[in-house]
């Protein structure tokens, strides 16, 4: 085991996949000598050369579009979108093209493509460096959407994404890049895309979360266990699409209470899907309101610290919501 930060685990995964498979290459803005603006590709151009770590033009739709074309004819691209906020110019290529290629060719052409993007707020990034965009893509069959919350999972899931025959969106909590640390096994391992992870066991209620909010939810669960004796189970979804419905439902059938935490805007966010799933398939286990703790419905995370902190869920707010729901 080696202790790593979230971003170190991501770099290590790409390093290993580049070494393993000659068909893997990376492209995106500043991924070359700069090593990425967050340094996720640091050291890779030195090791693998500019043919395999390719600085792209500053044009997201073509970063993805080129990736799709290269993927369908046999390469294994990892495309970096510098911030998830800038993925929208590529929306048509992701949603209209990558997601539909396999279906529209009746299983003849597949798109083994990874799109990595740092997402999320709490970093002073304002409206355009803070967005959570997962709900747009988790709506689209044909895509896979992965959001890890630990270095262990980030490395294993990213390696699995590179080997997956489908387009995988891999969203990385930028707030956790350096603040989330954890043990990573030394040898080769994969974490399968799909299964959720029980991050904390408990039987009083279930907290559903992913990415940065899963990290915060475990902190909050530990707080309320120690301070209030509340045993909150934390389900770290890890993969939003395809969703691990069994684990989601099984936990709820045990606890009968659900708090869903996400840092996207509340309305139409991914938490709504979890809530619908529970209401539809586990109604008879319901022992309280299904609650969502999320960002307010405003068009972005504001820049000023006071407003940003107001927007963002955090361990204290989650602990508060847990206590509230446990008392119901």
């Amino acid at each position: 085991m080696t202790e790593m930060t979230l971003i170190q685990a991501i770099t290590a995964a790409m390093d290993e996949e580049l070494a393993r498979d000659e068909r893997v290459f990376i492209t995106g803005e500043d991924v070359g000598v700069r090593g990425g603006v967050f340094r996720a590709t640091m050291g890779l151009i030195e090791k693998y050369g500019p043919q395999r770590v390719v600085d792209s033009p500053l044009a997201e739709l073509s970063i993805v579009g080129i990736g799709i074309g290269a993927a369908v004819v046999g390469l294994r691209p990892i495309c970096e979108i510098q911030f998830a906020d800038y993925i929208f110019p590529a929306f048509n290529q992701i949603v209209g093209e990558a997601a539909r290629f396999y279906y529209r060719s009746n299983g003849v052409w597949h798109v083994p493509l990874v799109i990595r993007a740092p997402y999320g707020g709490g970093v002073g990034g304002g409206l355009y460096h803070s967005q959570s965009v997962e709900a747009f893509f988790a709506h689209v069959p044909g895509l896979k959407v992965v959001i890890p919350s630990t270095p262990h999972d980030a490395k294993g899931l990213l390696k699995a994404a590179v080997r997956d025959p489908n387009p995988v969106l891999f969203f990385e909590a930028k707030k956790g890049y350096r603040s989330i640390r954890g043990d990573v096994p030394d040898g080769e391992y994969l974490v399968p895309i799909g299964p959720a992870r029980i991050a904390r066991e408990g039987d009083d209620l279930t907290v559903y979360a992913y990415g940065m909010m899963a990290h915060y939810a475990t902190i909050a669960a530990d707080m309320v266990r120690e301070q209030d004796g509340i045993h909150a189970e934390v389900v770290d979804l890890r993969t939003l699409l395809p969703l691990d419905r069994e684990t989601v439902l099984a936990s709820y059938r045990k606890t009968g209470k659900a708090l869903i935490v996400y840092e996207d805007n509340l309305t139409g966010g991914f938490g709504a899907e979890i809530a619908a799933l529970l209401a539809e398939h586990a109604f008879e286990h319901m022992d309280g309101p299904i609650r969502r703790l999320a960002g307010p419905d405003v068009p972005g995370v504001p820049f000023a610290h006071s407003m940003q902190e107001f927007f963002m869920p955090n361990p204290e707010k989650i602990a508060h919501a847990i206590r509230d729901l446990a008392a119901y």
Partner: protein, 348 residues
């Protein structure tokens, strides 16, 4: 920008058999296309979008590349191109009828969304220009494989370029600009064949661009530009073969513009009387690419009028047979709609 006079006469090197084969594909395409219009009028198919008028530049493109090996990313008007690459008339009809055995999409896509893994024709969507970045990506993959020693430079069994086609109106899309830019930056083995028929549905070309030619934009991308008469098979072949040679030699991408015309409505849902005069359409019908190529072949003493008639009769018989077989093919089961959402295996 290259003028026709500057290109070597590659067309002069085409053999009699090849010229006749090209002519045959044009005629089969035309007869099949006309049959599709008729089937639509009879209410037997829901939609048709036509290659009529575009046959010359399309057959030339197929013969300029390594047919069935080089990657092709077509658009909906590329019936002649698809046929000349090796897709059968029945493949098109199975798609037009949305049959379960439609090889392009299993009845999922609208007609004329050509696709064949065996022929390296890559599936496209209906959203115009989306295929251009894919073609540039495939060209990028070729260059990558050559640079990494994963493919030998002169191996003609492997794709050595990516060809993509698009209408002139669709070159207004950002997708086109970004892909052309990649092709220039990386000097990709890439050809974008713009079939400029002067209209995007009803909108004339001068509302798409302030420049007289689409290919005038080539210098902005650092790619080669060429404009040619897209209704002339030999002129089209000369220009496109020169582009292919450049791509194979590693000299980068070409923006090739065929000037042509669509003498029929945009699609079976269009009425072109609302936006252009009958006189204009009649004038272009006199420049019909099949009439022209037929005359050329006769002038050169390669074919006589009765040979042309025989080719025509053969084409009609071929279309009749393909239609008979298509009508006998099964429809998809309703729940086939649920299949093939995610790939489970990673084939290379």
């Amino acid at each position: 920008m290259t003028t026709a006079a500057e290109t070597r006469s590659y067309a002069a090197q085409l053999t009699r058999d090849t010229l006749i084969e090209m002519y045959r594909f044009m005629v089969v395409s035309r007869r099949l296309d006309e049959r599709a219009w008729a089937l639509h009028r009879q209410g037997k198919i829901a939609f048709h979008i036509s290659a009529i008028g575009h046959e010359a530049c399309q057959v030339a493109a197929a013969y300029a590349i390594n047919r069935g090996v080089d990657y092709v990313f077509p658009y909906y008007r590329d019936l002649t191109l698809a046929l000349a690459l090796g897709s059968a008339p029945q493949d098109f009809l199975l798609g037009a009828f949305g049959k379960a055995t439609d090889p392009y999409s299993g009845g999922r896509q609208m007609p004329s969304h050509f696709s064949s893994r065996a022929l390296n024709i890559v599936s496209g969507s209906s959203s115009v220009a989306t295929q251009i970045p894919h073609a540039a990506g495939a060209a990028f993959a070729i260059k990558y494989r050559l640079q990494r020693g994963l493919q030998a430079p002169d191996d003609a069994t492997q794709p050595r370029l990516a060809l993509t086609c698009i209408g002139e109106g669709s070159t207004s899309q950002g997708e086109w600009y970004e892909a052309m830019n990649w092709a220039g930056v990386h000097r990709l083995p890439f050809i974008c064949l713009v079939q400029n028929n002067y209209y995007a549905i009803s909108v004339p070309y001068d509302q798409q661009s302030a420049l007289p030619n689409v290919a005038d934009r080539a210098p902005a991308f650092g790619v080669h530009g060429v404009v040619f008469d897209g209704n002339d098979v030999l002129a089209s072949y000369d220009a496109l073969r020169a582009a292919v040679e450049r791509a194979y030699r590693g000299e980068g991408a070409t923006l090739a513009e065929a000037k042509t015309y669509r003498p029929v409505p945009h699609s079976s849902d269009d009425d072109d009387r609302s936006y252009r005069t009958r006189e204009e359409v009649e004038e272009w019908k006199r420049k019909d690419p099949i009439l022209r190529f037929g005359s050329t072949l006769m002038e050169r003493g390669l074919l006589r009028q009765d040979d042309l008639n025989a080719i025509d009769a053969q084409a009609r018989a071929e279309v009749d047979a393909a239609l008979r077989d298509t009508l006998a093919a099964p429809d998809p089961a309703p729940e086939d709609a649920l299949g093939a959402v995610y790939a489970t295996e990673d084939t290379p």
